[in-house]
Amino acid sequence: MTIPMEYGLWLAAILFCIGLAGVLVRRDVIFMLMSVEVMLNAAGLAFIVGGAARGSADGQVMFIFILAMAAAEVSVGLALIIQLYQTFKTLDADSAGGLNG
């Protein structure tokens, strides 16, 4: 049985919105990073669904790219989080607001 493309796309959109809401609402940077991961995977899901609908492997190739990029982003992000914690002794993103104009 085949799942219609619309279902997959809706799922991706819902996942993306959940991730975005997480980024906007959460103050804890670790949760913000996790929410970003959710958004990335939502985008990846959209690629795969689109690729499957057209019967090509392009979508899956794009997902591999996204995966590699996400891994790099997480390593940088975690290093930044450690620095943030060492400097401010907290994980609250709002505490690092020293660049306000």
Binding site: L24, V25, R27, M32, A96, G97, N100
Partner: protein, 650 residues
């Protein structure tokens, strides 16, 4: 040895650079050794180079040394090149020798000051630029030195920059001399457009063939160059900066504002004497300015209470004598007085500096007194300097140099009775203010105790300079007494002899100044020895009269230890004939007024409004940068939604 001419200039520059770069990390002793050593080495080199120069060519053929091409643009090709002849040799001798003594004096004098290395760096830089000025073989290099010494003067007047008054004095010196410099640079432009070169020798060779004597262009150029000389040498009407320049430390006043830099104007006029001879009106102007200045400054000196200001006005007045000599064509007399003046005036400044230093920065002569027993070395050397300045007859060098000028003001064909009488009046005034200073400072009731005695480093230069102020005069004696012409013969290798009416002056050629046997030239004044005897006696009697008057008025009188009370006339002279107030009214205030009413014109308003609009946007946009990460993410999301909406719905 002559090939080492460049090293004379390079050494002070090297010392200055070293002190400027590494001065902060060097101990004081090392700074002092670099500062004093570089100039002392230069002085030794000058002696060696000078002896070599005199031995090799007794006729005084100028020696040229080109180091490298400076600029080469469509025919305009000044080089970094030096010219050594008897005039520049005299100047570099005085600059390095007096300079080295003053540097030696400065080391103990400035020892406790902050910025010790900075001081020596600036002093060395000054010596370097001054040497560049007098050795330059083209006007561009001369101008570089000219502005360089102005810069060093500015830096050193404002040496104690924490007091705003000193900074003000420094700016005033810079601005006022700039008025003269502007005139001078226009004169140089005229020279360049006419001769297509700035080489001094070429211009002086070409000028008599291209410009007719008394032609308008020659007169204009000579007056413009005179403007530069007036500014640098603090002559009327640009003399106002020099009294304020006394804010500098005393060694600076001795070196820059007495011995060397302020005589740069004398050098410039002597160097370009051909142009001034082509413009008799301008040369006459030089004499008149000198005569006016020596009276104006002399009168002001009588009413000062600050010992350094007395010396400052005295310097202006003595340079007035040099200008008078230049103006009547007595070139060698002017340079002779320059040299002797450098000796005794730097001696007086250093002596005054010692007095000021041991009395805890006390400048007021009325608060001194009775120091002659307590500071014997300073007193006796100061007295020798004072005698030389007042030109006491027969024993002092100042008599022989100043008498020559006063005599030439009368005897030269360009001289006149008026100039002669002015010179005589100046001699009287000089003796009066000089001994007023001596009696107030060293005699009478002691009003302050010296805190220490100056050490050997400070007294040794005083003694050497005192010896020179005494003995320096005997290298040039008037023809009615002794008739020694070592100096004038030496100078007349380059500059013409004083134009005496009637007789032609004949020289025994090839006379070396080093071999004293050569002084056999005949030089007879037309007016005869009798007239010269009478003139000398009058001058001598007037200087002694000045001394006696000062003795009657000021010796052992119980003056209160405060500023004297002055009447309106005394106040007028005390303020230096109110030149400052006059310039303030005539020049400064109108310009300030004009700039104030012009501040808000339409163009300014346009640019001000541009700036305020940019400022308004800055405020609005800056408030969006609140430093909150989630806020930025939200803005990004909303922006994306809006963009997508626009893309999808249109």
């Amino acid at each position: 040895m002559k090939e080492f001419l460049w090293l004379i200039v390079a050494l002070p520059f090297a010392g200055s650079l070293l002190l400027a770069l590494a001065g902060k990390h060097l101990p004081r002793l090392a700074s002092a050794m670099i500062g004093v050593g570089s100039v002392a080495l230069s002085a030794i080199l000058v002696v060696l180079v000078g002896l070599d120069f005199l031995h090799e060519n007794p006729a005084g053929v100028p020696f040229h040394q080109t180091l490298w091409q400076w600029i080469n643009v469509s025919g305009f090709s000044p080089g970094i090149a030096f010219q050594l002849d008897s005039v520049s040799l005299t100047f570099i001798f005085v600059i390095t020798f007096v300079g080295a003594l003053i540097h030696l004096y400065s080391a103990p004098f400035m020892w406790k000051e902050e910025g010790f290395a900075r001081f020596f760096s600036c002093m060395n830089l000054f010596v370097g630029f001054m040497l560049l000025l007098v050795l330059a073989d083209n006007f561009l290099l001369l101008y570089l030195g000219w502005e360089g010494v102005g810069l060093c003067s500015y830096l050193l007047i404002g040496f104690w920059y924490k007091d705003p008054a000193n900074g003000h004095a420094a700016r005033k010196a810079f601005t006022v001399t700039r008025v003269g410099d502007t005139a001078m640079v226009i004169g140089l432009f005229i020279l360049f457009t006419n001769y297509h070169t700035l080489n001094i020798r070429d211009i002086l060779h070409a000028a008599p063939h291209t410009w007719a004597p008394g032609s308008r262009i020659a007169i204009t150029t000579a007056f413009l160059l005179l403007g530069g000389a007036i500014g640098k040498s603090a002559q009327v009407p640009l003399q106002t900066w020099l009294p304020d320049a006394m804010a500098a430390p005393s060694p600076v006043s001795a070196l820059i504002h007495a011995a060397t830099m302020v005589t740069a104007g004398v050098y410039l006029i002597a160097r370009t004497h051909v142009l001034f001879e082509l413009a008799p009106i301008a040369q006459n102007g030089v004499a008149v300015i000198g005569a006016i200045t020596l009276i104006v400054a002399g009168m002001a000196a009588i009413y000062q209470h600050d010992i350094k200001k007395v010396l400052a006005y005295s310097t202006i007045s003595q340079i007035g004598y040099m200008f008078l000599a230049l103006g009547v064509g007595a070139w060698s007399a002017a340079l002779f007085h320059f040299m002797i003046h450098a000796f005794f005036k730097s001696l007086l400044f250093l002596g005054a500096g010692s007095v000021i230093a041991v009395l805890h920065d006390e400048h007021n002569m009325y608060k001194m007194g009775g120091l002659w027993k307590k500071m014997p070395v300073v007193f006796w050397t100061f007295l020798v300097g004072a005698c030389a300045l007042s030109a006491l007859p027969l024993i002092t060098a100042g008599f022989y140099s100043k008498d020559e000028i006063i005599w030439q003001a009368y005897a030269s064909e360009k001289g006149s009775i008026t100039l002669w009488l002015t010179g005589l009046a100046g001699a009287f005034i000089t003796a009066l203010y000089t001994f007023r200073m001596v009696f107030l400072t060293f005699f009478g009731q002691a009003k302050a105790e010296p805190s220490y005695r100056p050490g050997l480093g400070m007294t040794l230069p005083l003694v050497v300079l005192a010896f020179l102020s005494f003995a320096g005069g005997f290298i040039q004696l008037p023809d009615n007494m002794g008739h020694v012409t070592l100096f004038s013969h030496f100078i007349e290798q380059v500059l013409p002899a004083a134009p005496t009416p009637g007789t032609a002056t004949t020289h025994a050629a090839a006379i070396s100044a080093t071999t004293a046997t050569g002084a056999t030239a005949t030089y007879t004044a037309a007016s005869g020895h009798a007239a010269e005897w009478i003139a000398q006696s009058i001058a001598a009697a007037l200087s002694i009269a000045g001394l006696v008057l000062a003795y009657r008025l000021y010796y052992n009188k119980p003056f209160p230890a405060a500023e004297p009370i002055r009447g309106p006339i005394q106040q007028f002279f005390f303020k230096g004939w109110n030149f400052d107030a006059l310039y303030d009214k005539v020049i400064v205030q109108p310009i300030v007024f004009l700039s104030r009413i012009d501040k808000n014109d339409i163009i300014d308003q346009f640019y001000t409004s541009l700036a305020s609009i940019a400022g308004w946007f800055n405020k609005r946009l800056a408030s969006t940068q609140n430093g909150k990460l989630r806020w930025y993410a939200m803005a990004l999301a909303i922006g994306t939604v809006i963009t997508l909406t626009i893309l999808l719905c249109t």
